[in-house]
């Protein structure tokens, strides 16, 4: 029977065309974008096979999408984990993963020097659900002294935001595993190019993919990488809480990851050059960067890092307060105040008013954040251009 006009427009060239494409002699060199929210089933049987038995294929976007899987696969391969998941933001990755493994009555051991919203979530949100967090300084306090029988997660960052301190990952993993707890490590500042926490025993490697992984300031995303068993547990909660990364975003993320090694190596070179420049500048009080000989974290960094530098993140304390920082921002020509990091251009942020604005003055002081401090994310510019920009901006102060 001839199809009506409307039916023709509904049914021609739609998903059914994929059957034809499956018979094509060539495959696309780059992975297509699968915007489809759902998939066609020829019968009921494949539904059971896909949903219950893990057969290849997809059913519904929230439960799985080829672009999300492509991005996850690259990330897991890079970090050396079995598998992974991508999320609609770094916070979705962090909170979904924590909620997947924690129950009321559980305990978390964490560094207080964390991304501001992670700290807030642990301290103020999880506590509402009966999960208590003890914050200890991983540099000076021993985790084995604070772990409890009900500790389920030890949580830290490879390079802690914003003071760029590096914890002993192997020791944290040992303490966690000896007590049946999991080690969650946010590897956003390092990326697998600088460090691979899974090598040292981290059970879950977390990312804000918005940063280095996306790398072009144009996507918001997150990732969690680990064993198949742990990821499958988290996958269930991703489906439940729905913080899925869109297909276009996943595709852009996969695109970005092709240049991750090149970008991170160049940003590390620029990061070290900037750190050395600031360290010898008379208007600077202190520079926090794990690649500096003066950094208390250098030894651990050298032990744990991959030999591709120390990343592109550094914090600089100036001899002055908010007023000085405001003038510095106004004087800079290339570098802008942008509350994010790890894009192609070098950016500057002001933690007391950006990443850590939810913290009280006391909480800020406790973790060493000063009002004369900026945090820098070195970009891909020519090194001399960056040094010249800061040199002229500082000369005018």
């Amino acid at each position: 029977m001839a199809r009506g006009t409307a039916t023709t427009y509904m049914h021609t060239g739609t998903g059914e065309m994929c059957y034809e494409m499956n018979k094509a002699l060539t495959v696309p060199e780059t992975f297509p974008i699968y915007l489809s929210s759902a998939y066609i089933f020829d019968s009921i049987e494949p539904m059971d096979k896909i949903c219950d038995e893990g057969a290849p294929g997809y059913a519904y976007f929230r439960l799985g999408n080829p672009n999300a899987d492509a991005a996850s696969r690259i990330l897991a391969a890079g970090d050396g984990t079995e598998t992974g998941l991508v999320f609609s933001s770094g916070m979705a990755a962090i909170t979904t993963s924590l909620l997947a493994v924690l129950r009321p009555g559980d305990h978390v051991l964490a560094s207080p020097v964390l991304y501001g919203e992670t700290f807030y979530f642990l301290k103020h949100e999880l506590s509402k659900w009966g999960v208590e967090t003890t914050f200890i300084d991983f540099d000076t306090q021993k985790p084995e002294d604070y772990i409890k029988p009900n500790t389920k997660v030890i949580y830290g960052e490879t390079i802690a935001n914003p003071l760029m301190s590096v914890p002993d990952l192997g020791h944290l993993a040992e303490v966690a595993h000896a007590n049946g707890a999991l080690l969650f490590i946010d590897n956003t500042f390092a990326t697998s190019i600088v460090a691979k926490p899974a090598k040292f025993g981290a059970d879950l490697v977390l990312y804000s993919a918005t940063k280095y992984l996306g790398g072009h300031d144009d996507i918001v995303g997150g990732a969690a990488l680990g064993s198949k068993k742990l990821i499958d547990t988290i996958r269930f909660y991703l489906g439940l809480y729905g913080g899925n990364l869109g297909a276009t975003e996943s595709w852009l993320l996969a695109r970005s990851l092709r240049t991750l090694p090149l970008r991170v190596q160049k940003m590390s070179q620029n990061g070290l050059a900037l750190a050395k420049f600031f360290e010898q500048h008379p208007k600077v009080e202190k520079v926090y960067y794990p690649g500096l000989d003066s950094s208390p974290s250098k030894e651990l960094a050298d032990k744990q890092f991959e030999g591709n530098g120390y990343g592109g993140m550094l914090s600089v304390n100036f001899k002055g307060g908010m007023e000085l920082i405001d003038k510095l921002i106004a004087n800079l020509k290339l570098v802008h105040f942008v509350p994010t990091l790890a894009g192609t251009c070098t950016t500057l942020t002001y933690p007391p008013k950006a990443s850590h604005r939810d913290l009280s003055a006391d909480e800020l002081a406790a973790i060493g954040i000063m009002y004369g401090q900026i945090r820098l994310s070195s970009g891909l510019e020519d090194t001399d251009d960056l040094l010249n920009d800061f040199d002229q901006a500082l000369a005018k102060l």
Binding site: E29, T30, H216, D217, D218, R255, R258, T259, P261, L262, R263, K266, K333, L334, H336, V338, T340, G343, T344, C345, T347, G379, L380, E381, D382, D384, D385, L386
Partner: protein
Amino acid sequence: MSLSVMRHPDFDRTKYGPSTVNIHAGELRDAYGALVPPIYQTSTFYFDSTDDAVKACDDYAKSFAYSRITNPSNDYFEKKIAAAEHGLGAVSYASGMGAVAGAIFMSVRAGDHALFCKAKYSGTEDITRDFLPRFGVEVGDFDPQDLDTLEEGIKDNTKLIYVESPANPTMVMADIAAISAIAHKHGIKVGVDNTFATPYNTNPLDLGADWVVQSVTKYIGGHGDLLGGAVISNDEGFLRDCRLGTLMHFGAVMAPQIAFLATRGLKTLTVRMKQYNANALQIAQYLEQHPKIDIVRYPFLPSNPQYELAKQQMRGGGGMLSFDVKGGLEAGKTFINHLRLCTLAVSLGDTETLVEQAAAMTHTMIPREVREAAGITDGMIRMSVGLEDPEDIIADLEQALATV
């Protein structure tokens, strides 16, 4: 022409290195302060009054009225590629061939004569053999390795000299400064396809070229996921002609989404090119010493007869090379069919390594005798070296060559 509000209104590209230029030139300040400008997915633009509309439509090239002429996303990309190529401006196209055809059409008319380098991309070759003669343009060619053939080829009505450097797929280079000097002595314009070299390795406009074309699909986009082209020049009148004469009429317009992706590619061009230069040189050296390889063509090999020119005109040798496996076409096929990591595909400038047999794939439309005259042998394998670890590429070549 400045259609958008610039973030660095006084940005002077001559004061910065190539990476900084690609990242910072042409940055826009939008109404919300977005660090990355939005994708202007709009076909048209509204006006507050008929007066404004008349003003805009009076000169389509100077305002946003309709996306076939220009669009803010394209404008943003054009400012960046112009800065990268050391030009005053640029016009973006739907494909590299859109740009090549557009720039050629705006350079010659019926009764004129144009000279092209012998070896070139087959699409461009088709324009010279088919399209131009049909519309009354006389076409000749010359060997860029022997500039006497250029001088001999010039006629009173020659209006354009067009070269690729390095040429696709022979890797023959054109001495752009010398060719431009000869051309300008005769009042002839010079167009250069800078796709293989990229603006990181060569800046033809600095060497005297009047305009440059890029297949943005290749190194500029850099990820094998878009189709685009651009014409870049210091001659604003020529660019205006390209925009109004070719985009307006032939309509090979770059889509705003593509302009966004192309700009995204441009921001990592420098880090990518440095790696391509290093990887390709290493692979060229490996192939050159391999007993099963007949000849390797790569600008930065000392054995290249144009090595001195390459050193002078290019920052690095680029990511493209071509070679012949001993045993010709059949040996080449065996080799290609055994590659595991390197991908058999046309196109180039992707993050992954691509190989192809020019005579059988990209240059198959060109008659055999023309191919051979241009130095394209039947067994020639063209390789677009990727960003993989070079040891992995070499290991793949090694195992595939072992089967030949």
